[in-house]
Symmetry: C2
Subunit: 477 residues, 2 copies
């Protein structure tokens, strides 16, 4: 190791050990406490204060991996992970991402690796077809898709593109001067408020529209608010509708909201971060009815489509609106292909310049599962959620907050908020399952989000038993 | 494959094949044309128009990888890649990232994997020590570091945090209302202009300060411009200084600019995206003299520190300014650790909510090379650049544009611009090397950026001979 590099033959050896380490991990994953049990500072204390001057062996790194890092891991890939939203992955995704790391390609523009751009274009067109998305979102039409890191970044991208459409690129030039206002529901993800702040619009100019009993945005109230704002001299420019809100899995009525947006000249962004994957199955596509009225749409294969983080798919109906907003071309990035106009340079479709070759992992996943395999698992997850909801409904101690439209069940113990939080913490501290809470109509609700790659009926059943038994024990205290 | 998943034993088998595939790639990398030779549309045409309904074999995916994707790859990891800036990687980084993909952890907040947060905190403190950064940038002091995807995102983060400091969080609330102005040099990376647009400031409010003969920002002109803007009722709030500009490797005088910023109450962001890695070596640290006056600083281990894309390190001197700007806490993310205030939740340090466990690859790299090994390679790269510059200087046909401070050599053939572009295209089309151009003082300059992991003296020498021979051939035409 005179030159400090691992040689290719050392890489073969260590790499294969790590492949086995990962396979072992999945074979043993149910033995780990799902939620990490370390206390704040417990991991960092075990890491040396100072960096190593001398090269260390791979063996010593993997030893620390097992002894120091693993106890501090919350096991998102555990079949008993029901917290937040799923962030599932799969073996083909891990391998697709490994190929991407190995090639070390930076696909900021077409010329820096044509295959990175063109595979992304093709795979995102595939996905549009797989989900029966409107033609306009395909690259072969006026729009197209691009992989973003997260739905937060997609939201920011949509807000900024909308801002520029509404102000005819004037905000990019002179700054935000107009009295712009944007609209979300009370259930919309917090990333939208963050985007509105970052884009210089200001949270005072974000209107929160109330929802109905199913936690869906009320279009009548949206229209009323837009009219009111207009007569007060504001410029409504952006609405976010959600397919499957984070807290409650509310399904906003896309068609009605879209009609309002089209009439009022507002950009409609549809956030389907988690639930979007369900559009693979025809029987769930009614939730996106009206999506042809949207200007942009995003969903996260890194949530529920077996593709490892990060991978958010962002489609627009009119790519030139996006490109006009984000394009900057310094001399050092000029090249023949870009000047010819025959290629996409994806750096003009988002915030960042540099980009990883993320289409590979999606391509590996879609091909290794096939559309059929992906549908099979989505359907299984939804079935399990429906079973869980039935059990809750049949129980005398628990109640459903709302009928679960897909794979998120919101429920509660019939006692008070404090008891529900105590119950959740007790289950999580057992290490046998991990789920989280929210507030619905002012009351604590427990969230059972079902969508990890290896979750089977037996896991959901055991967890329901665990929740019931824990509640009984706590009631007796 | 009844359930469509790869089994752990299939993963072991396919994974090991891919490890070998990557090792083979590095053993044969010099046989590929560095710049992909495909035409626009050539890759996409070979990909099926429609997604596969049925699951496909791993074998067929890897066959298409070789036959369809590889011809469309521009080989960033080739030792003959001298274009743009390096985006180097290394075997330990690839393996660290593989472990991260395998664990599939989403580290948005401390609780979702304490080790992801605490390893990041510790490794970024190590890096601060390795580069002799001021104490304030460490987590043990008032500041701390966070991994961002790219320097573009760090720039946006800095601009927004600066905007909120200058307006006392008023822009987050009411939108950008003040007449804010920001300052860069004529050599600053285009991502800064993009950030100023995205943050709602507007490019009209970005002042471009002229540079001296070494392409460094002139602090006298900066001060003059700030004074002028103030007397015209503007609010100067942000300055970006660069250590190693993209086009020219200009070194802005951080101390002088920092003194002006401190006097004028402007946020100073230092962009050391590529050159920052050189701070590993004491002999190059004079370029960051005065950095204790900066509010934020970023550099990219994914450029020149053997860590695969994406990995940008962003430090701030006062983390509460950052957190106050970006923090949003919805009910569904509330948890005991966050409420205790004893932990960092890195989602409050940047644009995105979700985050990959990227500290692992950095940790693997630092440990496997040791500080010593990293210094060894940085010094070798700088030496090779100096050799190349000497050869150019000694040649009668070529000239240096400026003495290279580090690993980027800007030079040109003594004939006209057209000839230089023709020369560059001819070399690039040969497939034997890939380099790019820029404009300096209105003239085309060729850029030889030396920093790929496996670039040795012999590669640089061969490339210099290739450039000379190609120029001779073209002169004779």
């Amino acid at each position: 190791m005179k030159n400090y590099h691992l040689s290719p033959s050392q890489f073969r050896e260590e790499g294969k050990k790590i492949i086995d380490w990962i396979a072992d991990y999945y074979e043993n994953i149910e033995k780990y406490p799902v939620l990490s049990q370390v206390e704040p500072g417990e991991v960092i204390e075990k890491l040396p204060n100072n960096p190593p001057q001398k090269a260390e062996s791979f063996e010593s790194i993997m030893k620390d991996m097992d002894e120091i890092i693993m106890p501090g891991i919350t096991h998102w890939q555990s079949p008993n992970f029901y917290a937040y939203f799923p962030s599932n992955t799969s073996f083909p995704s891990i391998l697709g991402d490994l190929v991407s790391s190995g090639l070390g390609v930076q696909g900021m523009i077409w010329a820096t690796s044509p295959a990175a751009t063109e595979l992304e274009t093709r795979v995102l067109d595939w996905l549009a077809e797989m989900m029966d998305m409107p033609e306009k979102f395909k690259s072969t039409s006026s729009g197209g898709g691009v992989i973003q890191d997260t739905a937060s970044t997609s939201a920011l991208t949509a807000v900024i593109a909308a801002r520029e459409r509404a102000t005819k690129l004037e905000s990019n030039k002179s700054g935000v001067r107009q009295k712009l206002v944007a609209y979300v529901s009370s259930q919309t993800h917090s990333s939208l408020e963050k985007a509105i702040k970052m884009a210089g619009i200001g949270s005072d100019n974000l209107r929160t529209i109330d929802v109905d009993a199913t936690f869906a945005m009320r279009p009548d109230l949206l229209e009323e608010q837009i009219q009111g704002d207009k007569s007060n001299g504001f410029l409504p420019f952006f609405v976010c509708a959600t397919i499957g809100t984070t807290s409650s899995n509310g399904m906003d009525p896309i068609r009605k909201i879209g009609e309002i947006c089209n009439n009022q000249n507002c950009w409609l962004h549809v956030d389907a971060a988690m639930a979007g994957t369900a559009m693979l199955c025809p029987e769930f596509r009614h939730f996106k009815d009206g999506v042809e009225l949207a200007d942009s749409y995003c969903f996260n294969p890194h949530k529920w489509m077996f593709t490892n983080f990060d991978c958010d798919v962002f489609w627009v109906g009119n790519r030139s609106e996006l490109i006009n907003t984000f394009s900057i071309l310094p001399e050092y990035l000029k090249n023949k292909a870009t000047e010819s106009g025959a290629v996409f340079d994806y750096r003009d479709w988002h915030v960042q310049l540099g980009r990883r070759f993320r289409a590979l992992k999606l391509w590996f996943v879609i091909r290794q599962y096939g559309v059929e395999g992906l549908q099979y698992h989505i359907r299984k997850h939804v079935e399990m959620a429906r079973d869980f909801a039935r059990w809750v409904d049949a129980s005398s101690d628990f109640e459903l907050m709302v009928d679960p439209p897909l794979n998120l069940v919101c429920f509660r113990h019939k006692s008070d908020d404090e008891f529900n939080l105590k119950l959740m913490n007790a289950v999580n501290e057992s290490g046998k399952a991990f789920f989280t809470h929210t507030k619905m109509n002012g009351r604590i609700a427990l969230r059972m989000s079902i969508g990890q790659t290896h979750t089977e009926e037996r896991h959901v059943k055991q967890t329901w038993e665990l929740i019931q038994n824990t509640a009984k024990k706590l009631s007796l205290l």
